[in-house]
């Protein structure tokens, strides 16, 4: 008999000293030639910024390979320097930020390819469970149009919430927890 899962509880407001004791938001060094900044602001249902959230990202490397034993595609180079994991708190302005590289495409269901994306967890006081979302890239229009996850979202407005905006020096991915323009969130 399978054991029953332990329930989730909120991260609360006091996690910083334990979980953000160092800077975990730079997945590559700032002088990496392909480094990109992804940043965003988290808003609540009243449009107020959320200054006490924690955002984690998980992504493949530039070639689309995950640093994990389940990803056994040995033809793709793994990257010793790149774990694919990052963690950022939000600041008083509700903003999180990561320095990373754009991931390559990764396999999807039924042998399809998924458009490049970054998988995201959001934790905060008032969230009894994490929220899961994905960051897609604005310069991947063709791949996004046929992405097997994006195309399950019928509402074009909701689908658009998953595509980062190019701000020139950075990609912006704002997260709206609730209300008008709520970000699309996932369950497993």
């Amino acid at each position: 008999m399978s054991p029953e899962p332990t329930p989730s509880q909120t991260i609360g407001p006091f996690f910083h000293d334990a979980l953000l004791d160092r800077n975990y938001s730079e997945l590559v060094s700032p002088d990496h030639p392909e480094a990109i900044v992804i940043r965003g602001t988290i808003y609540d249902g009243a449009g107020e910024v959320v200054p006490d959230a924690m955002v984690e990202i998980w992504q493949a490397n530039r070639t689309g390979r995950y640093d994990h034993p389940t990803d056994d595609r040995d033809d793709l180079p793994s990257d010793e320097e790149f774990s694919g994991f990052g963690r950022s708190g939000t600041d008083v302005g509700g903003e999180f930020s990561f320095l990373t590289v754009k991931p390559g495409p990764v396999p999807g269901p039924d042998g399809q390819l998924q458009a490049p994306h970054v998988t995201v967890s959001v934790f905060a006081r008032g969230l009894l469970k994490r929220l899961v979302t994905r960051i897609y890239f604005p310069d991947e229009e063709a791949a996004n149009a046929v992405d097997p996850v994006l195309s399950t979202i019928e509402d074009p407005e909701l689908r658009r919430t998953l595509i980062a905006r190019d701000e020139g020096d950075a990609l912006r991915f704002d997260i709206h927890l609730q209300g008008d323009g709520q970000t699309a969130f996932f369950a497993f």
Binding site: A18, D44, E48, W58, Q182
Partner: protein
């Protein structure tokens, strides 16, 4: 305004699988932070059957002993907290990062936003981490955290708890939860604890006193096993 949490099994939904809902109005902060649009079901792909291996950098030798991280010993009731981390099939989750944080014995966090007028303890950071062993086992030495007040409703107090953060084998298995202590009189008025509508599931957040873990003349032992969603990768099918 007095807002006594209501209910017994109101809001219990089988599809929650023992997990709390996002919106639980008795926990006031959920009202503006819970999403209202239906969640989109993610197909199982490499993006979530993989996950960060350790999550973070190296583990220090004293990171799992919160009573020996500073110059002197923290005040309070010394305790040992140990248990196993299992995946959805009941298999041990090995070599996986466990992070904890908690209030000190007086119910005060080191965090600069904690305004509770209880003393800080210069000998207590309240933060620990370790990796699970080959049986999925972790172990921390710490002091029993105190209860503390918060502003959710009139005269609201959180039951004593230790926050746990776990990665497990995949992105799907990521979990942050809280471990409670048996017999706490504050459970009945705590909306965070009660947000888990399934009474049996609530019990899975409560540690058990364990005489076997208890060390004579030294520290009480509590046992807390954690079961994560999802499954570990097929063991070593494709070693790299």
């Amino acid at each position: 305004m007095r807002q006594q949490p209501t209910d017994e099994t109101a809001g219990l939904r089988p599809e929650d699988n023992g997990q709390p809902p996002y919106l639980y109005p008795d926990y006031v902060a959920t009202r503006l932070r819970a999403p209202k649009e239906p969640l989109i079901i993610l197909p199982k792909t490499l993006s979530d059957t993989t996950g960060p291996a350790y999550g973070r950098g190296p583990i220090g030798e004293l990171d799992n002993d919160l009573t020996r991280q500073r110059e002197g010993e923290p005040l309070g009731e010394r305790i040992i907290v140990t248990g196993r981390v299992l995946d959805g099939d009941g298999r041990p989750v090995r070599n996986s990062l466990v992070e904890i944080w908690q209030a000190n014995a007086a119910g005060r966090y080191t965090h600069h936003l904690d305004q509770h007028p209880a003393p800080l303890d210069p000998n207590f950071s309240g933060a620990g981490r370790c990796l699970t062993d080959d049986e999925g086992r972790y172990r921390f030495v710490t002091v029993k955290p105190g209860a503390y007040p918060w502003k959710n409703h009139d005269n609201a107090w959180r039951p004593a708890h230790i926050h746990f953060s776990l990665f497990g084998p995949a992105f799907r298995s990521r979990l942050i939860t809280q471990m409670y202590f048996p017999g706490d009189p504050l459970f009945e008025q705590d909306p965070i604890f009660r947000s888990v509508r399934d009474r049996e599931a609530r019990q899975r957040m409560i540690s058990t006193f364990d005489l076997e873990t208890t060390q004579p003349e030294w520290a009480l032992g509590y046992r807390f096993d954690i079961v994560l969603e999802g499954r570990a990768a097929t063991p070593m099918e494709n070693p790299r």
